[in-house]
Subunit: 176 residues, 3 copies
Amino acid sequence: MDEQTQVVVETEEDTGATTTKKTIILFSGEFDKVMAAMIIANGAAAMGDDVTIFCTFWGLNILRKTDKVDAQAKKSFLQKAFGGMMPKGTKKLGLSKMNFAGAGAPLMRKVMRDQNAMSLEELFDSARELGVKFVACTLSMDILGFKQEEMIDGLEYAGVASYLGEADEANVNLFI
Amino acid sequence: MDEQTQVVVETEEDTGATTTKKTIILFSGEFDKVMAAMIIANGAAAMGDDVTIFCTFWGLNILRKTDKVDAQAKKSFLQKAFGGMMPKGTKKLGLSKMNFAGAGAPLMRKVMRDQNAMSLEELFDSARELGVKFVACTLSMDILGFKQEEMIDGLEYAGVASYLGEADEANVNLFI
Amino acid sequence: MDEQTQVVVETEEDTGATTTKKTIILFSGEFDKVMAAMIIANGAAAMGDDVTIFCTFWGLNILRKTDKVDAQAKKSFLQKAFGGMMPKGTKKLGLSKMNFAGAGAPLMRKVMRDQNAMSLEELFDSARELGVKFVACTLSMDILGFKQEEMIDGLEYAGVASYLGEADEANVNLFI
């Protein structure tokens, strides 16, 4: 029996039961939901997990460069309108609840500073330093008219097949 | 050791490490979130996965027939009111963000047409052709007063126990 | 081969392929989303699963005592403001859609009573009786200024590392 027990132990590692890869589809672009995603991602990465955040639709906004990029000539009128109305980067995101016409997120940021909690920007930077992989959904980018030169550096660009391949390898897959 | 290695390999298949079943609880009924669900479902089904979309609460709206069905006599006043105010099918869904009193979704549809992206209706039809299973949550139907004759054909009707049974067999379970 | 087959069977149980633990991050605090979480949790617990609901951000509201607790002296001005504007317990939650300035949830409650469906409060009590574990996210509590004496009894208090540990052991992990 001793040898067979050995097999069981090895098997546990081989069958992927111990995989700790995590994926998050970040669909939402609200301050509080992005915060939740970043806290989970940082926590998992700090524990040694592989983490991929697949940003799609409104979640793409956090990956946009905050400075003006001249890509307007490549966009349709409606894409310019969508792009112009949506926030660039993490600094201008609103709350999903109690937004108070935009005042909610700054108030929550102030409470967080008072508590010495990490800011959303610090969590985002920390996630990237810990090796969390940020993927921009190319289909959503096409629809919203976002161009790669408008996005921050260090991203991967992929579609749903890539997401599914990663999700198949992960043991926790969240849609936020 | 050779024989034991063999055991390990067989075990990998037997323990379900290779299952690629996916489930999605579609709770939301907004155009953009339904789009996300349909893109994931189509992608997974195209890769050969079993996919079940469990529609509940506002997600049930996409399964309603667009033509008038006379089931009013079986409904309470409030159920008629709820039913009357909610969209039937996928064509009237609003956006979760930037809805602009209903103008947001048509604008996003136009951008998608300009990009030659598949429409939501095409994605929905494609999902059904690829064998994605759509389940209508019977408990939500009871609450909202939806009757089976008001729903499109080819659905399954089930409750939370059925969902949990399928989720137990799946390796990716999302709540959208 | 007989002995080795035996190994395979044992392995299935050992590798966690048969685990039926479930985790739910309850981020949202709307009546309909909390209902969905409670229905899933009750269903899973009734089938013998271990279920943990990790309440964070707006989801914390359902864990607040409804009666006045004097913890104001420990809070900043903004935390008092946030706390004062957010609902305590499950009774005052609004709907995520068709809220009609607060009238939506009472209407849905009435429809549910007419259908003899379990109320949200009954589902919440039932979940606790069935052993569903409710965890309050300590980081969110710090930000929103919630103190343990303001929360109902029988909760656990933990952070993201605790969530990740449980999610690693579970086969279904949802973000609601």
